[in-house]
Structure formats: C-alpha cells, structure tokens
Symmetry: C2
Subunit: 222 residues, 2 copies
C-alpha cells in the first residue's frame, strides 16, 4: 500500500467517517460503491473522495467503483485498528459508566482492560464485566499490562494530575473528555479531546445562520 508522506489533518479527520460509512454499507450488504454514491451518503463530492483516498494509494478501479470490504479493511489498517490497542478508563462517574456500558471499543480495535476510581462503593466491582480498581493501583497495572490509551472521565479539577500519572506510567495516548486543555510533558504522547461545547457551538452557529437566512428571505419578499 503506497502512502503519500504528508497527509493533511482534514483528510485524517475524515478517515474514521469513511470507516464508519463503509461498515454500514457492509452491514447493508453493499459489495461495490462508486465514488459519487459514497460521496452522496457522506455529504462530499466524488472528486473529494477520490482525492482523499488517493493520499493513501490507489483503491478504486476506474469505472468499477470501490470494493466495500477491501476499502474498509485498508482504511482500518491505516487507522491502526489491527494493532491490538488497549485502553483503561479513569473515572467511573455517569460519563465513564455510560461509555463503558455502551461504547463498542472492540469494533474500533481497542480492548478495554480496566477502570479506575477512588470511590469505595465502586472499587472492587465490575461495570459491564470490566473490573474497577482503586486509582492507587494505576501504575502497577500499567507496568504489568500493555496499556496504549488512558480515557479521562474524571472531574476537570483532577484532569491534569490523572493525565500526568498516565503519561508517566507510559501510555501513548490520552482520550480526554474533561474539557480541560491538558499539558503533556512527553513529546510522543498524543491527546485527542472530545469537546462537547465545540459541537454544541457549531450547532448554535448553524441554526443561527438558518435564522438569518429565513429573515433574509422574508426581507426579499414584496
């Protein structure tokens, strides 16, 4: 598989969407899809799709479209889905618990190994089969198990200190739900944040624009 060296962040951000759409097409029994049909279902143009996928080598065959299963497999490979990544959850409040119970880690190539908390009512129990240990045991656990990613669902006040402990223990990535801008002390540790507010503000922008459009339309009426 040929890959062009420098891939833009925008393309990388779209790859998971491709993977998600291709998984849905696969479940729906679709075998081949044209770039224009794939584009339509994703809200992109056919030429955008061809450009994106060209960054990672030649997938489609002129006039035949893309084979759904092999394109999905290739993109999964690029995304690192078969690398045996593992994750631990820091904080089993409502949000941590919701994600442990409902999120399909395995469909995204991650094995959920354990959760950590300080609440004595939770420590020693299991959530959806996942053992909850005391946060004090984190370092020993990471030393004994290969942990790729620490998911942060602690309170914002605890976010930086728990992040530091994960980084010092040797994880390679932080999946951050705390809405805190984390400072990372090691160069090769990556942070990916889910900022609920960014998403809601985007929605706010979009509905505000629509409001304007409606007003403008009214103004245009005789």
């Amino acid at each position: 598989m040929k890959r062009n060296a420098k891939v833009s962040t925008a393309v990388i951000r779209r790859l998971p969407r491709y993977y998600r759409h291709l998984s849905e097409l696969q479940r729906a029994g679709v075998v081949r899809i044209s770039s224009s049909a794939l584009g339509k279902s994703m809200g992109l143009t056919a030429s955008q799709i061809r450009q994106d996928l060209f960054c990672f080598g030649e997938f489609g065959q002129q006039g035949y479209g893309y084979k759904v299963d092999s394109l999905k497999e290739e993109i999964g490979e690029i995304l690192g889905i078969n690398r045996g990544h593992t994750v631990v959850v820091m904080g089993t409040g409502n949000l941590g618990r919701a994600i442990i119970q409902n999120f399909q880690f395995s469909s995204n190539g991650f094995r959920l190994l354990a959760a950590f908390d300080v609440n004595p009512q939770v420590v020693g129990t299991k959530i959806a089969g996942v053992p909850v240990y005391h946060a004090d045991e984190l370092e020993a656990f990471v030393a004994a198990h290969p942990v790729s990613v620490g998911m942060l669902t602690v309170s914002i006040s605890a976010a930086q200190s728990v992040c530091d402990r994960l980084v010092n223990a040797g994880v390679r990535g932080i999946w951050n739900f705390t809405n805190h801008e984390l400072a990372i002390s090691r160069e090769n540790v990556v942070v990916e944040s889910v900022h609920f507010s960014d998403s809601l503000l985007t929605l706010s922008y979009l509905i505000s624009q629509q409001g304007e459009t409606a007003e403008e339309r009214e103004e245009e009426l005789p």
Copy 2:
C-alpha cells in the same frame, strides 16, 4: 461587522475552539494577544489565524494584536451565543444524566428547559434541577415552549423515531449522541453529531503513526 459570504466548514469548525481559548485567556486575565501567541496556544500558525478571522471581518489592529474580550464577544456573536437558544434532553440514561449534571449549557448560550424519558422511576423527578417529563408529553411541551434543539441520548434503536418526533414538533437542530446516522425529513433542520468512535479512531491513527515513526527511526540507525 463585515462577513464574507462563503465561509468554509473548516473555519466554522475552528470558531468554537477560538471561543474556548479566548474564554480561557480572559479568565487568566489576558487583555491583548498577538496572532502568533494565540496560534501557539491553539496549534495553528499566525497566518492561519489572521486568515480565519479575516473571513468574519477585521478584528485585530496591525502591530497591536487582538483585544481578548472584544474578539471573544464578536466570535460569540457569530456563533449565535446571544440568540436565546434552548434545549431539551431526550433520554436520561447514564450519558444524558452525565451531560445534564456536568455540561455548562449556559456558558454556551443555551438554556436547558427539560428532559424526557419513559422510565417511570425517573419521570416526575428532577436531575440537577431539570424536570424530567414523560416522552409522551414532548409535543405538548414544544408547542408551549420555544425549543431550539433536541439533544438525543436515547438508545440507537430509538434514535430515528425520537428524532422524527423532535423534527415534527418543530425544533431547528438535533444534537445527536446516538452514533446513528439520522435521516432528516425537513430541509431546514440541522444535525450535529458527537461520534465517539471517530475521535477514538483518530487517536488510534495518531498512536499507530508514532509506532511507525519509532520503527523507521530504528531502521535508520546503523
């Protein structure tokens, strides 16, 4: 305020980040900031920042940087933060509850009016002061109150039908946490989805790339 007509999705997606960073700078007591300093804290170049903000008119003054409070206010205005948007929450499972209890709707310009569920143990109670009504009461509630957005934290199997009800009741936007690709029957209703899997797969990509970089480095060693 001059606004260029066509603003790219990429710029729009960055506006909430600007707003978040400017809010933090404001809390930290920063009065003015140069485009290069703002860029550094956001991982963007100074020229990128100047380009982005130029889309919405002239904010900065050559050589003086940006005034933090007025830039924040202008971006908040663009994002529609002062439009009196309102939201109702559909589904008070762990995720819905976590967001009701912890997310600062008001800092993002939204008023959280009510939550809806079908669970008799929750209906009639309050979560963090927010009343929970039976889902059957949704249409009557939306008819009586101005509801801009419905937040979807129901199960994936209920996602489309609850979305349809919100759209038919007249909301203008859906904030979707169900990981279901919603079909929207009305033209002027917007969907904004928080896809946890897209975020985790991006992290998977980033840590996988780092692995490769390390391997390549090793190969380069004598």
